[in-house]
Subunit: 214 residues, 2 copies
Protein backbone atom coordinates (compact mmCIF):
# COMPACT_ATOMS: atom_id res chain seq x y z
CA UNK A 1 0.00 0.00 0.00
CA UNK A 2 1.40 3.36 -1.02
CA UNK A 3 1.38 5.91 1.82
CA UNK A 4 -0.61 9.11 1.59
CA UNK A 5 2.61 11.08 1.97
CA UNK A 6 4.00 9.40 -1.16
CA UNK A 7 0.80 10.17 -3.07
CA UNK A 8 1.02 13.81 -1.96
CA UNK A 9 4.62 14.02 -3.18
CA UNK A 10 3.80 12.33 -6.51
CA UNK A 11 1.02 14.87 -7.02
CA UNK A 12 3.50 17.66 -6.34
CA UNK A 13 6.22 16.17 -8.63
CA UNK A 14 3.68 15.89 -11.43
CA UNK A 15 2.74 19.53 -11.11
CA UNK A 16 6.37 20.65 -10.96
CA UNK A 17 7.11 18.55 -14.06
CA UNK A 18 4.22 20.28 -15.87
CA UNK A 19 5.78 23.64 -14.97
CA UNK A 20 9.16 22.49 -16.34
CA UNK A 21 7.47 21.13 -19.47
CA UNK A 22 5.79 24.50 -19.98
CA UNK A 23 9.19 26.15 -19.76
CA UNK A 24 10.54 23.84 -22.47
CA UNK A 25 12.75 21.81 -20.11
CA UNK A 26 13.25 18.29 -21.51
CA UNK A 27 15.08 16.49 -18.72
CA UNK A 28 15.63 16.97 -15.00
CA UNK A 29 17.97 15.40 -12.45
CA UNK A 30 16.50 13.81 -9.35
CA UNK A 31 18.38 16.32 -7.18
CA UNK A 32 16.81 19.27 -9.05
CA UNK A 33 13.27 17.96 -8.90
CA UNK A 34 13.66 16.91 -5.26
CA UNK A 35 14.86 20.40 -4.31
CA UNK A 36 11.91 21.98 -6.11
CA UNK A 37 9.62 19.73 -4.08
CA UNK A 38 11.41 20.47 -0.81
CA UNK A 39 12.65 16.89 -0.38
CA UNK A 40 15.69 14.71 -0.98
CA UNK A 41 16.82 12.89 -4.12
CA UNK A 42 16.78 9.57 -2.25
CA UNK A 43 13.16 10.03 -1.30
CA UNK A 44 12.23 11.10 -4.82
CA UNK A 45 13.80 7.94 -6.23
CA UNK A 46 11.93 5.80 -3.68
CA UNK A 47 8.66 7.55 -4.57
CA UNK A 48 9.22 7.01 -8.29
CA UNK A 49 9.85 3.30 -7.75
CA UNK A 50 6.14 3.06 -6.92
CA UNK A 51 5.30 4.61 -10.27
CA UNK A 52 7.46 2.19 -12.19
CA UNK A 53 9.27 4.76 -14.31
CA UNK A 54 12.06 2.96 -16.07
CA UNK A 55 14.66 5.57 -16.78
CA UNK A 56 18.34 6.17 -16.41
CA UNK A 57 18.57 8.77 -13.68
CA UNK A 58 22.24 9.28 -14.55
CA UNK A 59 21.12 11.22 -17.59
CA UNK A 60 18.18 12.75 -15.75
CA UNK A 61 14.50 11.97 -16.03
CA UNK A 62 12.64 12.77 -19.23
CA UNK A 63 10.23 15.45 -18.03
CA UNK A 64 7.24 14.62 -20.23
CA UNK A 65 7.59 10.86 -19.88
CA UNK A 66 7.92 11.02 -16.09
CA UNK A 67 4.84 13.26 -15.88
CA UNK A 68 2.96 10.69 -17.98
CA UNK A 69 4.12 7.85 -15.73
CA UNK A 70 2.87 9.67 -12.64
CA UNK A 71 -0.42 10.45 -14.41
CA UNK A 72 -0.88 6.78 -15.28
CA UNK A 73 -0.25 5.90 -11.66
CA UNK A 74 -2.39 8.58 -10.00
CA UNK A 75 -5.27 9.09 -12.39
CA UNK A 76 -8.14 6.81 -13.23
CA UNK A 77 -8.45 6.41 -17.03
CA UNK A 78 -11.34 8.54 -18.22
CA UNK A 79 -11.16 10.72 -15.13
CA UNK A 80 -13.02 10.77 -11.85
CA UNK A 81 -16.22 12.52 -10.91
CA UNK A 82 -16.35 14.63 -7.76
CA UNK A 83 -19.40 15.95 -5.93
CA UNK A 84 -19.43 18.96 -3.64
CA UNK A 85 -21.79 19.31 -0.70
CA UNK A 86 -22.49 22.76 0.72
CA UNK A 87 -22.68 25.69 -1.68
CA UNK A 88 -22.16 28.42 0.88
CA UNK A 89 -19.44 30.97 0.51
CA UNK A 90 -16.62 28.45 0.79
CA UNK A 91 -18.39 25.91 -1.43
CA UNK A 92 -18.91 28.52 -4.14
CA UNK A 93 -15.27 29.55 -3.92
CA UNK A 94 -14.23 25.90 -4.26
CA UNK A 95 -16.52 25.36 -7.27
CA UNK A 96 -15.00 28.41 -8.90
CA UNK A 97 -11.49 27.19 -8.13
CA UNK A 98 -11.96 23.59 -9.26
CA UNK A 99 -14.00 24.57 -12.33
CA UNK A 100 -11.03 26.19 -14.02
CA UNK A 101 -8.39 23.59 -13.25
CA UNK A 102 -7.57 21.24 -16.05
CA UNK A 103 -7.55 17.96 -14.28
CA UNK A 104 -8.85 14.44 -14.54
CA UNK A 105 -11.08 15.39 -11.62
CA UNK A 106 -14.39 16.95 -12.56
CA UNK A 107 -16.99 18.35 -10.18
CA UNK A 108 -20.21 16.94 -11.64
CA UNK A 109 -22.79 17.89 -9.02
CA UNK A 110 -23.22 20.16 -6.03
CA UNK A 111 -25.73 19.84 -3.20
CA UNK A 112 -27.26 22.33 -0.82
CA UNK A 113 -30.31 22.50 1.42
CA UNK A 114 -31.03 26.13 0.53
CA UNK A 115 -34.00 26.11 -1.91
CA UNK A 116 -32.70 29.32 -3.44
CA UNK A 117 -29.51 27.60 -4.61
CA UNK A 118 -31.10 24.38 -5.77
CA UNK A 119 -31.49 23.84 -9.54
CA UNK A 120 -29.17 26.71 -10.30
CA UNK A 121 -25.90 26.26 -12.18
CA UNK A 122 -23.07 27.72 -10.12
CA UNK A 123 -19.65 28.06 -11.78
CA UNK A 124 -20.72 25.53 -14.37
CA UNK A 125 -21.97 22.99 -11.85
CA UNK A 126 -25.61 22.13 -11.21
CA UNK A 127 -26.81 22.41 -7.62
CA UNK A 128 -29.22 19.72 -6.41
CA UNK A 129 -31.32 19.58 -3.24
CA UNK A 130 -29.54 17.88 -0.37
CA UNK A 131 -32.21 15.19 -0.01
CA UNK A 132 -31.64 14.04 -3.59
CA UNK A 133 -28.03 13.12 -2.83
CA UNK A 134 -28.34 9.35 -2.92
CA UNK A 135 -30.59 9.48 -5.98
CA UNK A 136 -28.25 11.75 -7.97
CA UNK A 137 -25.21 9.74 -6.92
CA UNK A 138 -26.86 6.57 -8.21
CA UNK A 139 -26.67 8.02 -11.71
CA UNK A 140 -23.07 9.17 -11.27
CA UNK A 141 -19.94 7.16 -10.72
CA UNK A 142 -18.59 9.68 -8.21
CA UNK A 143 -16.60 8.11 -5.40
CA UNK A 144 -14.93 11.38 -4.37
CA UNK A 145 -16.62 14.22 -2.49
CA UNK A 146 -15.85 17.62 -1.05
CA UNK A 147 -17.67 18.64 2.14
CA UNK A 148 -18.09 22.38 2.65
CA UNK A 149 -21.09 22.49 4.98
CA UNK A 150 -21.06 23.99 8.49
CA UNK A 151 -19.69 21.84 11.30
CA UNK A 152 -23.09 20.75 12.61
CA UNK A 153 -24.14 19.08 9.35
CA UNK A 154 -20.87 17.49 8.29
CA UNK A 155 -21.17 14.10 10.00
CA UNK A 156 -24.63 13.48 8.54
CA UNK A 157 -23.39 14.46 5.09
CA UNK A 158 -20.38 12.15 5.40
CA UNK A 159 -22.69 9.26 6.30
CA UNK A 160 -25.03 9.96 3.37
CA UNK A 161 -22.06 10.19 1.01
CA UNK A 162 -20.48 6.94 2.13
CA UNK A 163 -23.84 5.15 1.95
CA UNK A 164 -23.99 6.35 -1.66
CA UNK A 165 -20.58 4.83 -2.43
CA UNK A 166 -18.18 7.71 -1.80
CA UNK A 167 -14.76 6.49 -0.64
CA UNK A 168 -12.69 9.69 -0.53
CA UNK A 169 -13.69 12.92 1.23
CA UNK A 170 -11.98 16.29 1.24
CA UNK A 171 -13.46 17.87 4.37
CA UNK A 172 -13.48 21.63 4.90
CA UNK A 173 -15.92 21.44 7.85
CA UNK A 174 -14.19 21.97 11.18
CA UNK A 175 -15.09 18.59 12.65
CA UNK A 176 -13.41 15.21 12.85
CA UNK A 177 -15.58 12.92 10.71
CA UNK A 178 -16.29 9.38 11.90
CA UNK A 179 -16.26 7.11 8.84
CA UNK A 180 -15.58 3.47 8.16
CA UNK A 181 -11.89 2.52 7.73
CA UNK A 182 -12.22 2.07 3.96
CA UNK A 183 -13.12 5.74 3.49
CA UNK A 184 -10.22 8.18 3.19
CA UNK A 185 -10.68 11.66 4.70
CA UNK A 186 -8.41 14.66 4.23
CA UNK A 187 -9.15 17.72 6.38
CA UNK A 188 -8.45 21.32 5.43
CA UNK A 189 -9.34 23.94 8.01
CA UNK A 190 -8.81 27.34 6.43
CA UNK A 191 -9.87 29.33 9.49
CA UNK A 192 -7.50 27.48 11.80
CA UNK A 193 -4.71 27.90 9.23
CA UNK A 194 -5.25 31.65 8.96
CA UNK A 195 -5.57 32.07 12.72
CA UNK A 196 -2.30 30.20 13.28
CA UNK A 197 -0.53 32.44 10.79
CA UNK A 198 -2.07 35.52 12.40
CA UNK A 199 -0.99 34.42 15.88
CA UNK A 200 2.61 33.71 14.97
CA UNK A 201 2.73 36.69 12.61
CA UNK A 202 1.30 39.20 15.05
CA UNK A 203 3.04 42.57 15.30
CA UNK A 204 5.77 42.59 17.89
CA UNK A 205 4.74 44.61 20.91
CA UNK A 206 6.93 47.64 21.51
CA UNK A 207 8.89 47.09 18.32
CA UNK A 208 10.51 50.49 18.13
CA UNK A 209 14.14 49.63 17.62
CA UNK A 210 15.59 49.00 14.21
CA UNK A 211 17.03 45.56 14.94
CA UNK A 212 14.97 42.65 13.64
CA UNK A 213 13.30 40.65 16.40
CA UNK A 214 15.08 37.55 17.73
CA UNK B 1 6.50 29.45 23.48
CA UNK B 2 3.09 28.02 22.64
CA UNK B 3 3.22 25.34 19.93
CA UNK B 4 1.43 25.78 16.63
CA UNK B 5 -0.61 22.66 17.40
CA UNK B 6 -1.91 24.30 20.59
CA UNK B 7 -2.80 27.47 18.67
CA UNK B 8 -4.65 25.37 16.08
CA UNK B 9 -6.64 23.62 18.82
CA UNK B 10 -7.44 26.90 20.60
CA UNK B 11 -8.75 28.28 17.30
CA UNK B 12 -10.92 25.18 16.94
CA UNK B 13 -12.19 25.30 20.57
CA UNK B 14 -13.14 28.93 20.10
CA UNK B 15 -15.18 28.13 17.02
CA UNK B 16 -16.89 25.18 18.70
CA UNK B 17 -17.70 27.39 21.70
CA UNK B 18 -19.28 29.94 19.34
CA UNK B 19 -21.45 27.17 17.91
CA UNK B 20 -22.51 26.13 21.43
CA UNK B 21 -23.17 29.77 22.33
CA UNK B 22 -25.37 30.11 19.25
CA UNK B 23 -27.32 27.07 20.41
CA UNK B 24 -27.92 28.67 23.81
CA UNK B 25 -25.58 26.33 25.70
CA UNK B 26 -24.22 28.09 28.81
CA UNK B 27 -21.63 25.65 30.12
CA UNK B 28 -19.65 22.71 28.79
CA UNK B 29 -17.54 19.98 30.40
CA UNK B 30 -13.96 19.53 29.26
CA UNK B 31 -14.79 16.00 28.09
CA UNK B 32 -17.63 17.27 25.87
CA UNK B 33 -15.62 20.06 24.28
CA UNK B 34 -12.59 17.78 23.83
CA UNK B 35 -14.71 15.17 22.06
CA UNK B 36 -16.16 17.82 19.73
CA UNK B 37 -12.59 18.84 18.88
CA UNK B 38 -11.46 15.26 18.37
CA UNK B 39 -9.04 15.32 21.33
CA UNK B 40 -8.80 14.39 24.98
CA UNK B 41 -9.95 16.25 28.09
CA UNK B 42 -6.41 16.21 29.48
CA UNK B 43 -5.06 17.93 26.39
CA UNK B 44 -7.88 20.46 26.42
CA UNK B 45 -7.06 21.36 30.01
CA UNK B 46 -3.35 21.72 29.16
CA UNK B 47 -4.24 23.94 26.19
CA UNK B 48 -6.49 26.12 28.32
CA UNK B 49 -3.74 26.62 30.90
CA UNK B 50 -1.97 28.70 28.23
CA UNK B 51 -5.01 30.91 27.95
CA UNK B 52 -5.24 31.50 31.68
CA UNK B 53 -8.93 30.75 32.03
CA UNK B 54 -9.65 30.61 35.74
CA UNK B 55 -12.67 28.40 36.10
CA UNK B 56 -13.87 25.43 38.04
CA UNK B 57 -13.91 22.61 35.48
CA UNK B 58 -15.90 20.48 37.95
CA UNK B 59 -18.96 22.56 37.10
CA UNK B 60 -17.96 22.86 33.47
CA UNK B 61 -16.55 25.83 31.59
CA UNK B 62 -18.70 28.90 31.05
CA UNK B 63 -19.07 28.85 27.28
CA UNK B 64 -19.13 32.61 26.63
CA UNK B 65 -16.39 33.42 29.12
CA UNK B 66 -14.08 30.71 27.82
CA UNK B 67 -14.60 31.91 24.24
CA UNK B 68 -13.69 35.42 25.40
CA UNK B 69 -10.56 34.14 27.16
CA UNK B 70 -9.41 32.39 23.99
CA UNK B 71 -10.19 35.50 21.96
CA UNK B 72 -8.10 37.63 24.32
CA UNK B 73 -5.26 35.17 23.94
CA UNK B 74 -5.41 34.66 20.16
CA UNK B 75 -6.53 37.99 18.80
CA UNK B 76 -4.68 41.27 18.67
CA UNK B 77 -6.85 44.07 20.17
CA UNK B 78 -8.29 46.10 17.31
CA UNK B 79 -7.80 43.23 14.86
CA UNK B 80 -5.09 42.40 12.36
CA UNK B 81 -4.77 43.40 8.74
CA UNK B 82 -4.08 40.76 6.12
CA UNK B 83 -2.91 41.22 2.54
CA UNK B 84 -3.46 38.76 -0.28
CA UNK B 85 -1.06 38.37 -3.19
CA UNK B 86 -2.29 36.79 -6.42
CA UNK B 87 -5.85 37.47 -7.53
CA UNK B 88 -6.20 34.55 -9.89
CA UNK B 89 -8.98 32.07 -9.57
CA UNK B 90 -7.86 30.79 -6.19
CA UNK B 91 -7.07 34.29 -4.89
CA UNK B 92 -10.52 35.52 -5.89
CA UNK B 93 -12.12 32.53 -4.20
CA UNK B 94 -10.15 33.26 -1.03
CA UNK B 95 -11.11 36.94 -1.08
CA UNK B 96 -14.74 35.92 -1.41
CA UNK B 97 -14.38 33.43 1.43
CA UNK B 98 -12.52 35.69 3.84
CA UNK B 99 -14.64 38.75 3.02
CA UNK B 100 -17.75 37.26 4.59
CA UNK B 101 -16.20 35.81 7.73
CA UNK B 102 -16.70 37.84 10.87
CA UNK B 103 -13.25 37.80 12.31
CA UNK B 104 -10.63 40.04 13.81
CA UNK B 105 -8.68 39.37 10.60
CA UNK B 106 -9.45 41.74 7.74
CA UNK B 107 -8.07 41.51 4.21
CA UNK B 108 -7.15 45.13 3.52
CA UNK B 109 -5.33 44.90 0.19
CA UNK B 110 -4.79 42.48 -2.68
CA UNK B 111 -1.97 42.51 -5.22
CA UNK B 112 -1.67 41.20 -8.74
CA UNK B 113 0.58 41.80 -11.72
CA UNK B 114 -2.31 41.66 -14.21
CA UNK B 115 -3.06 45.29 -15.26
CA UNK B 116 -6.67 44.30 -15.87
CA UNK B 117 -7.17 43.44 -12.20
CA UNK B 118 -5.25 46.35 -10.75
CA UNK B 119 -7.26 49.22 -9.23
CA UNK B 120 -10.43 47.16 -9.24
CA UNK B 121 -12.29 46.27 -6.06
CA UNK B 122 -12.76 42.50 -5.90
CA UNK B 123 -15.08 41.11 -3.20
CA UNK B 124 -14.73 44.38 -1.30
CA UNK B 125 -10.95 44.45 -1.47
CA UNK B 126 -8.89 46.84 -3.57
CA UNK B 127 -6.35 45.25 -5.91
CA UNK B 128 -3.00 47.03 -6.26
CA UNK B 129 -0.20 46.47 -8.76
CA UNK B 130 2.36 43.96 -7.56
CA UNK B 131 5.21 46.45 -7.76
CA UNK B 132 3.47 48.76 -5.28
CA UNK B 133 3.57 46.08 -2.58
CA UNK B 134 6.22 47.63 -0.33
CA UNK B 135 4.75 51.11 -0.76
CA UNK B 136 1.18 50.03 0.09
CA UNK B 137 2.39 47.92 3.03
CA UNK B 138 4.20 50.96 4.45
CA UNK B 139 0.81 52.60 4.95
CA UNK B 140 -0.73 49.46 6.46
CA UNK B 141 0.13 47.63 9.61
CA UNK B 142 -0.34 44.24 7.97
CA UNK B 143 2.05 41.59 9.23
CA UNK B 144 0.00 38.69 7.87
CA UNK B 145 -0.22 37.68 4.19
CA UNK B 146 -1.84 35.08 1.99
CA UNK B 147 0.11 33.94 -1.09
CA UNK B 148 -2.02 32.65 -3.96
CA UNK B 149 0.32 33.16 -6.90
CA UNK B 150 1.61 30.38 -9.18
CA UNK B 151 4.57 28.36 -7.94
CA UNK B 152 7.16 30.22 -9.99
CA UNK B 153 6.45 33.59 -8.41
CA UNK B 154 5.90 32.57 -4.80
CA UNK B 155 9.46 32.80 -3.46
CA UNK B 156 9.92 36.33 -4.83
CA UNK B 157 6.58 37.36 -3.34
CA UNK B 158 7.53 35.87 0.04
CA UNK B 159 10.79 37.85 0.01
CA UNK B 160 9.03 41.10 -0.89
CA UNK B 161 6.45 40.51 1.84
CA UNK B 162 8.99 39.79 4.56
CA UNK B 163 11.06 42.82 3.53
CA UNK B 164 7.87 44.84 4.02
CA UNK B 165 7.43 43.51 7.57
CA UNK B 166 5.18 40.48 7.08
CA UNK B 167 5.81 37.81 9.72
CA UNK B 168 3.08 35.24 9.00
CA UNK B 169 2.30 33.71 5.59
CA UNK B 170 -0.52 31.39 4.56
CA UNK B 171 0.90 29.87 1.39
CA UNK B 172 -1.32 28.28 -1.25
CA UNK B 173 1.47 28.13 -3.86
CA UNK B 174 2.82 24.61 -4.31
CA UNK B 175 6.39 25.43 -3.29
CA UNK B 176 8.35 25.25 -0.07
CA UNK B 177 9.14 28.90 0.75
CA UNK B 178 12.58 29.79 2.10
CA UNK B 179 12.10 32.50 4.72
CA UNK B 180 13.98 33.69 7.78
CA UNK B 181 13.28 31.75 11.00
CA UNK B 182 11.19 34.54 12.51
CA UNK B 183 8.60 34.25 9.72
CA UNK B 184 5.88 31.65 10.21
CA UNK B 185 4.62 29.83 7.11
CA UNK B 186 1.58 27.56 6.87
CA UNK B 187 1.11 25.66 3.60
CA UNK B 188 -2.20 24.58 2.10
CA UNK B 189 -2.04 22.67 -1.15
CA UNK B 190 -5.59 22.18 -2.39
CA UNK B 191 -4.61 20.27 -5.51
CA UNK B 192 -2.47 17.78 -3.63
CA UNK B 193 -5.26 17.36 -1.05
CA UNK B 194 -7.87 16.64 -3.73
CA UNK B 195 -5.55 14.30 -5.65
CA UNK B 196 -4.83 12.32 -2.47
CA UNK B 197 -8.54 11.96 -1.80
CA UNK B 198 -9.13 10.95 -5.42
CA UNK B 199 -6.36 8.35 -5.30
CA UNK B 200 -7.52 6.68 -2.10
CA UNK B 201 -11.17 7.12 -3.06
CA UNK B 202 -10.87 5.69 -6.56
CA UNK B 203 -13.52 3.21 -7.67
CA UNK B 204 -12.59 -0.35 -6.84
CA UNK B 205 -11.64 -2.26 -9.98
CA UNK B 206 -13.92 -5.19 -10.70
CA UNK B 207 -16.31 -4.27 -7.89
CA UNK B 208 -19.21 -6.43 -8.99
CA UNK B 209 -20.05 -8.34 -5.86
CA UNK B 210 -22.35 -6.95 -3.25
CA UNK B 211 -19.98 -7.28 -0.29
CA UNK B 212 -18.28 -4.07 0.72
CA UNK B 213 -14.55 -3.96 -0.12
CA UNK B 214 -12.12 -5.05 2.59
Amino acid sequence: MVSDKTIARLSLYRRLLKVLEGEGVRSVFSQQLATMAGGTAAQLRRDLMEVGYSGTPNNGYEVARLADSIRDFLDVPGGQSVVLVGVGNLGKALLSYFATRRSSLQVVAAFDSDPYKVNRVIHGCRCYPMDSLSEVLKGQTATVAVIAVPAAGAQGVAEALTRAGVRGILNFAPVRLRVSPNVYVEDIDMTVALEKVAYFGRPIAGRTRKEPPA
